[in-house]
Amino acid sequence: MTAPPAPDAMLSVRGVSLRFGGITVLDDVSFDAPRGGILGLVGPNGAGKTSLFNCISGHYQPAAGSILVDGTETVRTPAWRMARLGLARTFQHPALRLDATVLENVLLGAHSWLPGGPVAWALRLPTTRRHEREARARALELVERTGLGWAAHTRADELSHGLHKGVELCRALLARPKLLLLDEPAAGLSHAEVEQLIGTVRAVRQEFDLTVVVVEHHMGLISALTDRVVVLDHGAKLMEGTAAQAQSDPRVVEAYLGKEVGAGEPA
């Protein structure tokens, strides 16, 4: 029934089901995200997109199924180990430390690869100091690349929501991911900010050789950015194809807008 994982896939989701109590949130979802591509995950509200993200990032444990990240089975891997496997993600609502500067927020992204335990850091060993300097330089570079250089030392609570999203993206990128999950990156952004976001995601995908999976409602962003989309509805995969195919697919239109009156024929 479910196909074996594609050999060139950075992410292979196979037969993933998720239940909360008696409610089936995800039902036997399978898809692949090809290496180096940008995959869109779309569907109406409550379709299970973010739940699927949470399964991939390890925040939720699916009841059944298999998730391979770069060939490694990760369903039983705790979420905090996923960063070391090359997975980074952003959240629908950027959760930053508002009392810390942009740079401090971004630096958290270096946690998974910065070496040294509490003793080394408490003693500020020369190697530890050097690693911290490198991480800071890298963080500043990312912040400047995404047009936030001027705000590097500004407290996060002095910045707008749109800028918070940029900071969160930098934080995820500093983790040096192979696979980047973006959860509604365009939500709450202005038109100009969405345009810039598209440019930024394209550029970093190229530069860091990333595979990107993006959950989004903004169809403009999905069309501009993604190679393929997977459409979810009621926790199940509805279809898979290009953004244009998805937008013209009657099943997708129905899922978003409801059934046309009089055209009642079951899908």
Binding site: H59, A79, L140
Partner: protein, 371 residues
């Protein structure tokens, strides 16, 4: 994301603070250092005892701040570790251990106990950790009474140790002050380093949002265990210092009220702040003394009134006073010259984007998976 129209600052490794602020901080730090070195030479034994007590409770508070201020986990059991450290040290003195061994074990044994407690308790969410830490002093006091072979029972242990070496020409109170001051200095330096780098950032994100912590490679569980272990070690260390200064310990040392007063002092000084920790210790030791001088039968009442007053005026603690004053000054200047700009007012979290939430909603509930 705005386009980079503003000039990007040169790549610096430290956040640029104004030269004036830095100079002021350096001068203040130097002045404090000089006072701390010279004061015991010119003060009475009573004053030196108070100064040394400040050092003792500064280290206990430092530990509390690691778990509570920096990592955001409520701990109501710090006094138990202080007491444990004091009893271990007393046992060492009475059994002629080398002082270095007492010092080591006064930190290591409480750290091990704290770690065991946290390994079990940090799996629980919310106030469960607080409830378990609450039990520590409550169980600790009767235990200390009961095991009188080790603790001296209700009478406690009186010791006489850490006398000033003759060659130095110092009085005992001066010598003991310097010993605890050096220990406090080392502890503060280590914790300051710790909270600034990788580990400090993991503490901060566990406090802020565990879902984000998980996604960035931080295990909230391990981080809490680590923070609690460090807090317990520092609590035990402050017990060593306590015995050095007071030369006596009893079940009273670890009563629950001490834990609560430490929590209050941490908040008064400023949580998640090294300077705030020191200010909290000043408050902890000096306010009851001063209140006692005002009216010796109303000490608790006056202390409580001071606590409330500080919290009303400075909810972020004494450490926020300079920032608060600067903000007020700039706000006043702002109203005179230009339309009021609230961008630097922490009381109103700004959101320049009207539609966006000013405070990020917590992410979806997470399954905190344990290793």
């Amino acid at each position: 994301m705005a386009t980079a129209t503003r000039p990007a600052p040169a790549a610096t490794t430290t956040p640029p603070r104004s030269v004036v602020t830095r100079a002021a901080a350096a001068v203040a730090g130097l002045a404090v250092a000089v006072v701390l070195v010279v004061a015991p030479l010119v003060s009475s034994p009573y004053i030196n005892f108070q100064l040394a007590s400040i050092m003792v409770f500064a280290v206990a508070l430092l530990g509390l701040n690691v778990i509570m201020g920096y990592t955001g986990q409520v701990s109501l059991g710090q006094s138990a570790f202080l007491g444990l450290g004091a009893y271990i040290t007393a046992y060492g003195v009475l059994n002629d251990w080398p002082i270095a061994l007492s010092l080591l074990l006064s930190a290591v044994v409480p750290a091990a106990v704290g770690m065991l407690v946290a390994l079990a308790a940090a799996r629980l969410r919310g106030l469960a950790l607080a409830m378990i830490t609450l039990a520590l002093p409550i169980i600790g006091v009767p235990l200390a009474r009961r095991f009188d072979g080790f603790t001296g029972g209700s009478q406690g242990q009186v010791v006489s140790w850490l006398r000033a070496p003759e060659s130095l020409g110092l009085a005992n109170d001066q010598w003991r002050y310097y010993v605890v001051a050096v220990i406090a200095l080392v502890a503060f330096l280590l914790v300051r380093n710790l909270v600034r780098g990788r580990i400090g950032r993991s503490f901060a994100i566990v406090k802020e949002n565990e879902a984000v912590a998980l996604s960035m490679g931080v295990s909230p569980y391990r981080t809490k265990v680590l923070a609690f272990t460090i807090a317990s070690a520092l609590g035990g260390l402050s017990g060593f210092m306590y015995l050095a200064v007071v030369q006596y310990t009893s079940p009273e040392t670890l009563v629950f009220a001490t834990s609560i007063n430490l929590v209050a002092a941490m908040v008064i000084g400023g949580s998640a702040s090294i300077v705030g920790t020191a200010l909290g210790a000043l408050y902890y030791v000096l306010v009851p003394v001063l209140a006692g001088q005002v009216n010796s039968s109303r000490t608790a009442l006056i202390s409580g009134a001071v606590l409330l007053a500080v919290l009303f005026v400075l909810p972020a603690g004494l450490v926020s006073l300079p920032r608060r004053l600067a903000r007020r000054r700039s706000a006043r200047r702002g109203t005179r010259t230009a339309p009021h700009d609230t961008a630097d007012d922490a009381a109103t979290p700004t959101s320049t984007d009207g539609s966006a939430p000013a405070v990020p909603a917590p992410a979806a509930t997470t399954t905190d998976q344990h290793p």
